[in-house]
Amino acid sequence: MLQLQQISLVQFRNYIQQQFSFTEKVVGVCGLNGSGKTNLLDAIYYLGFTKSYFSRNDGQNVHHGMAGLRLQGQFLLNDEPHEIVSILRENNRKEFSLNGEEYKKFSEHIGRFPCVMIAPDDISMIIGGSEERRKFVDTILSQIDRNYLQHLIEYNKVLQQRNSLLKQAADQGNINEELLSVFNEQLSKNGEWIYAQRLFFMESFLVLVGQFYARIAGKDDQVFIVYESDLQKGKMLDLLLASRQKDSVLQRTTIGIHKDDLLIKMGESNFKNDASQGQRKSLLFALKLAEWQTLKTKKGFSPILLLDDVFEKLDEKRMHNLLKWVCTDDDGQVFITDTHPARLKQQLKEVGAGFQLIEL
């Protein structure tokens, strides 16, 4: 069981210095627009992922006009207390520690305190470009297997080097073939490994997404997702050799797992084009809850679920089904934000689980 008991925020976003205690499994957070609900959820996410869900640049997380920030969380994991502290120093150096021990590599922390966030902008995962969907899948796999993140980092480094070589070769009019071969091999080795992991993962994951979709939507819209990868066409090394000419002309690597995508279909048509807003939202929830379920199965405990503004997204009945399911069928901790205290209170009461309401 994973539970956040207390969090303290110093100079994080709109918070200058504040502390919150969480006593219940279900925590409602309410407040007006701009009161800091999303920021509070992001602070929790930050402690699990060593970074913000929303901003790449840590500087943006610091309260305007101030230098440095500090987040501290007291967690209970399988009845053992754990303390996570993240400090961004005035010189922008970041320290991240678990139980007083500083991480040398932040990537080692990923997956130990899993969280799943559902935020309004996440809908871009369904309607936007393939990068968002790969990021989603990578985030799950990185939390399950630390080697995955390592391989992915290496793959991306080699990819950059290879692209850089292709660019320089185009400028100079000739290419160092041996070096290209070395990059091909390094890329293929990591690429094949990642492909195998993704393929194995998708098999059960995509089924789970379908089940969740049906449960949330309450009907069968014939929504299904297909994993697409260049590597389905052959060994990556052969594909790289075959695309050699094309890569040289375009000055970048045109095949590989960095092009993988999830194709979402609804019946015969493309979900992206045809789905209604409600259907998109249902699918977003299905994807995220499948993530949550997968992590739960792998870890043996539920990840913390961070639901930002979900009431704006689904009709009341669907919302009720969903809440009931995540709040009562399970031992996990859930944070839910809403602008209307009364609505939130009402919903949580109906669900019947013990809850706590925080007003910002």
Binding site: Q160, S164, E178, L179, E185
Partner: protein, 205 residues
């Protein structure tokens, strides 16, 4: 900073060019020199310019040297001349020498392959290494590069360039954290890595 002398200002500007030295520190150093005897400061200056003028890079291994061939390369009795340790830069030579665990020779590449940083094989002492191994019938090539992906690229590349050879190719053991830098490893870890060096077939994941 407003200084009363152009000469002083020039000296401060020169010191401030050094890594890790700002204008304030530079001024402090210059004022310190100003307090010294003229002879002493002349000696200081001459030592520096003599060092720059006369230090050579070993013809064979590119290590720093007072002579055309460095003291390690010319020590044919105490040093195994058929063992070459390949390093990125001179700081790595110094780091490995201070472990006192190594009795072969070196080859300083002068960097690591990284097109992203504008460093291709041609900018490095790789051709000289290949011909050296062939001409000298080297028995073993020991790679002591930073254990990261660029280090790997450089090793694979050199191996490819070497082609079929009787020379054994090894690398220091990866006891040191992956992604770290050789320069900052403690001596114990570094010494152990050299003692536990591995054949390259075993080391590739």
């Amino acid at each position: 900073m407003q200084l009363p002398s152009q000469l002083l200002e020039n000296a401060v500007a020169e010191f401030a060019k050094l890594p890790g030295i700002g204008k304030k520190t530079a001024l402090r150093l210059v004022l310190h020199l100003l307090k010294q005897e003229v002879d002493e400061v002349s000696h200081f200056g001459e030592t520096i310019s003599k060092m720059r003028k006369e230090v050579q890079f070993c013809k064979r291994c590119s290590n720093i040297s007072d002579t055309q061939v460095c003291s390690i390369c010319s020590n044919t009795t105490g040093r195994n001349q058929q063992l070459i340790c390949v390093v990125e830069n001179i700081r790595d030579v110094i780091a490995i020498e201070s472990t006192q665990q190594y009795n072969g020779t070196y080859h300083v590449l002068g960097g690591i392959i990284s097109p992203l940083d504008g460093v291709g094989p041609d900018q490095l002492n790789i051709e000289t290494l290949i011909s050296r191994v062939k001409e000298e019938e080297t028995k073993e090539l020991l790679f002591a590069l930073n254990p990261n992906i660029q280090g790997d690229t450089t090793i694979y590349y050199i191996q490819r360039k070497l082609g079929q050879t009787n020379c054994k190719v090894t690398t220091i053991a990866r006891g040191i954290s992956f992604g770290g830098e050789l320069e900052y490893a403690d001596e114990m870890t570094l010494a152990r890595s050299i003692t536990n060096r591995l054949p390259i077939e075993q080391y590739v994941r």
